[in-house]
Amino acid sequence: MTANALRTRPPARRREPRATRALSVLQSTALVVIALVALVPLVAIFVATFQTGADIMRGGITLAVDPATLGLDNWTMLFTDSGPYFRWFANSLVVTVLQVVGTLLVSSFVAYGFAMYDFRGRTPLFIAVLAIMAVPFEMVMLPLYVQVNEMGLADTYAVIVIPFLAAAVTIFFFRQYFLGVPKEILEAGRVDGVTEFGIFFRLVLPIARPAIAAMAILNGMMCWNNLLWPLLVLRSSEKFTLPIGLNTLITPYANNYGLLIVGSFFSLIPILVLFLAFQRFFVEGMTAGAVKG
C-alpha cells in the first residue's frame, strides 16, 4: 500500500481493517478485470495488424491466432508503401488542431459572456444553447450542405471547422466552470484599467487550465474522429481526413485491407497521446465544469 493511500485512509477504516482490506482487494480485482475486458478490442486489432488483411476480412478477428501467420508486412507497408495514408494523417492533424484551438477560444469566449454578465436576452439565448445540445446535427446536415454548396464553400476545411467553433456543449461546460470563478477577479481587473476582454484573456482564461484540458480532450477526440460531415463536404481526395481515408479502404474493388487494419490501429496513437498528456487535469477539469444542482 502506498504512503499516499495510508495518509488518506479515513478514520472509519481503522475500526474494521480486515473486512475493508478484503473488500478493497475484491474491488481492485473487479476493476482490473473490467478494464482488461474494455481493452480486448484494441488488443485484438493490434494482433490483427500482424495478420493478412484479406484473411481478417474473411474470417473476422480471432482469439486463436496461429503464430505462423503473423508477420510485419502490414507495418512495413504502412511506412513504405501506404499511398496517401500519411497525407490523410497530416490533414487530420491540421484540422484537429485548428478545430480544437478555435473551439476552445471561441466557446470559452461566449461562455464567459453567459457566466459573468447580466444582459437582456441572456435567458432565451442560453436556452438556445441547451436546445442545440439536444438537437442532432444530422437534422440540419442536408440543408446546410445545400447552403454551403451555393456559397461555393464545399470542399474546404472552413466548412468543417467554422460551424462548430461556438459549440454548445463546450459553451455549456465553460459556463459552468466560470460560474465558480470569484467575481472579485473581474473587479480587481477593472480597477487596474483592464478592458472587459483583457480581463477574460489575461485574468480568467489562464486560471481555467483544467477546464481547457478537459475540453481539449473531448473536442480533440470528436474532431479527430469526425466522419459524417467531412465525408459529405470534402470532395478532393488530397483533402481527405483520416476517418474518410480509412473508410475509402473498405471496398471490395481493391485489396487494401492490410493497410486498413494497420492504419486503423495507427490512427489511435495521436489521440491517445493527447489523452495521456492531459489526463492529469482531465478529471479535475470535468469536476470543476460538472453540472451542478
Binding site: 484479406a54 484473411d55 476480412m57 474473411r58 474470417g59 491540421v94 485548428l98 484551438v101 478555435g102 477560444l105 471561441v106 469566449f109 450542405y145 445545400v146 454548396n149 451555393e150 461555393g152 464553400l153 464545399a154 470542399d155 474546404t156 476545411y157 472552413a158 466548412v159 471547422v161 467554422i162 467553433l165 487596474d192 484599467g193 483592464v194 478592458t195 476582454f197 483583457g198 484573456f201 489575461r202 465525408l231 459529405l232 470532395r235 478532393s236 481526395s237 483533402k239 473508410n247 475509402t248 473498405i250 471496398t251 471490395p252 474493388y253 481493391a254 485489396n255 485491407y257
Partner: protein, 446 residues
Amino acid sequence: MSRIRTTASAATVAAVLAACLGCGGGSPGGGAGTSADADGATPMEMWIFGELHGVLYEQMADRWNELHPDRAIDLRLTVYPYQDMHNKLQLAANSGAGMPDLADIEVTKFANFVRGDDPPLMDLSAAAEPYREDVVEARLDLYSRGDAVYGYPTHVGAFVTFYNTELLEEAGIDYSTIVTWDDFAAAGAEYHAATGRAFGTANTDVFFVEPLVIAQHGGELFAEDGTVQVDSPEVVRSFEMMQDMVETGAIAPIPGSSPDDEEAYGSIARGDFAAIVYPAWYTSRFVDYMPDLAGKVAIAPAPVVAGSDTLTIGGGGTGTAVAAGSPVRDLAAEWLAFAKLSPEANVAVWEVLGFDPVNMAVWEDEEVTRDPDNQFNQYFTTNLFDVLNQVKDGIEHFESFGSPDLPAVNSRFGTVTLTEIYESGVPAREALEQAQRELKNELRQG
C-alpha cells in the same frame, strides 16, 4: 502592456479563423477547367470507384496521346469507394456544382442521373457512331434514354456459371449436362444430399440473378406504362422457383450476402459453394481473390428457363458518362469513345480486367481469346469466349434496367425482399406483394 497582450490574443483568434478559411482553398467549380497544362495537354477530372478501372483509363489516355499528340489529354483520376462516389456525384448533380468532367456510374444508380428533360449528362451518341455496329446494342440501350446515349458500357456482363470441377467430380456430377434451371435445381439437390454443403448461392443484398430469371420467364419489373409491377405472375413464378431451390438445399445464403464480398471469397475458396451463377466479370474476382482455386474452375453458360429464347442478359455494369456542363465535353466524349468502345480498348478490358468486352469483334479474334499467356485463360479450365460465342444470339436487353425507378426497386430488394424470401421463409408471393405496396407509395404511384 495589457493592450498588447489583448491584441495578441485577439490576433490569435483572427489567425485561426483566417487559417480555417484559407486552408480549404479549393475551387468548387466544375471539373478541372479549361486551362491547358504547360505541355499543351487538356486536363480532365474523372471519378471512378474501382481502382482497376483506373489502370485501364490511364493506359487508354497514354495511347490516345500517342495517336493524337495535338489533342493530348491529362487525365486526373480520383478513386472513391462505390457508395461515396455515387453520393458525391448525385449531390454535385443535384446542386449544379462540383461535377467532374467524366465519371463511372454503376448501372443501378444510373437512372438517378438521367431524370427529367435536362439531365446533367451529355448525349454521347455522336462520338459512339464509328464503333456502333460492333458493340452489343443491348448494353448501349442500358444507358440510353430515347435516342440519346448518356453512358458507354464497360462490359457485357453476360451471366455464366462458375463450377468448381473438383467438388463436382467428387459428388459425381457432370456440369456440362446442366442446361436448364430444372437441371440446376436437381443437380443442386443431389449435391446437397450427398455432401451436406450448398451447391449454388442465394444472394440477399445484390439483385442480379433474379432479373435474369425474370427475363427468361418473359417478365419485367415495371408495367407497360412504366409503373412498378413487382408482383406480376412472371416475377412471382421466378421467385417461387428460386425459393424452391433454397428449400431443397440447391442454393443457400452466402456469407457476406453476395458472391462479390470478402467473406464470400473466403467461403467459395474453402469449397462451401460449388456453382456460382454470376456475370462474366466475376472472372477477375477468382483470379484476384481466390488463387487457390486456379485450374479447378470451369465457366459454362448460365442455366435457362426451359423454352426461353433469352439465354442471358447483361448483369451489373458501369456506364461512363461526360458531364453536360464540362467545358471540355467534346474532347472528353471523343476520348471516352476511344477508351471504351474501340477494339483496342476492348482487348484491354479483357486483358486487364478480365471482363467480357462489349465490342464483339474482339470475341472472334483468336489471338486475343486463345492467348495462352493470359492469366484468365490460365486460371479457368474452359475458355470464357467459347461460352460467350455460344450465347451470343441470346443476349437480351432487360427493359427494366432502363427504368428511372430502378434504384428504388433495387434498394427494396437488396435490403428487404431478398432476405425475406431466402432467409426468413416469407412466401415469395407475399413478400412481392408487400414490396409492391411499399414501392407504390414510395414512388408516388399509389
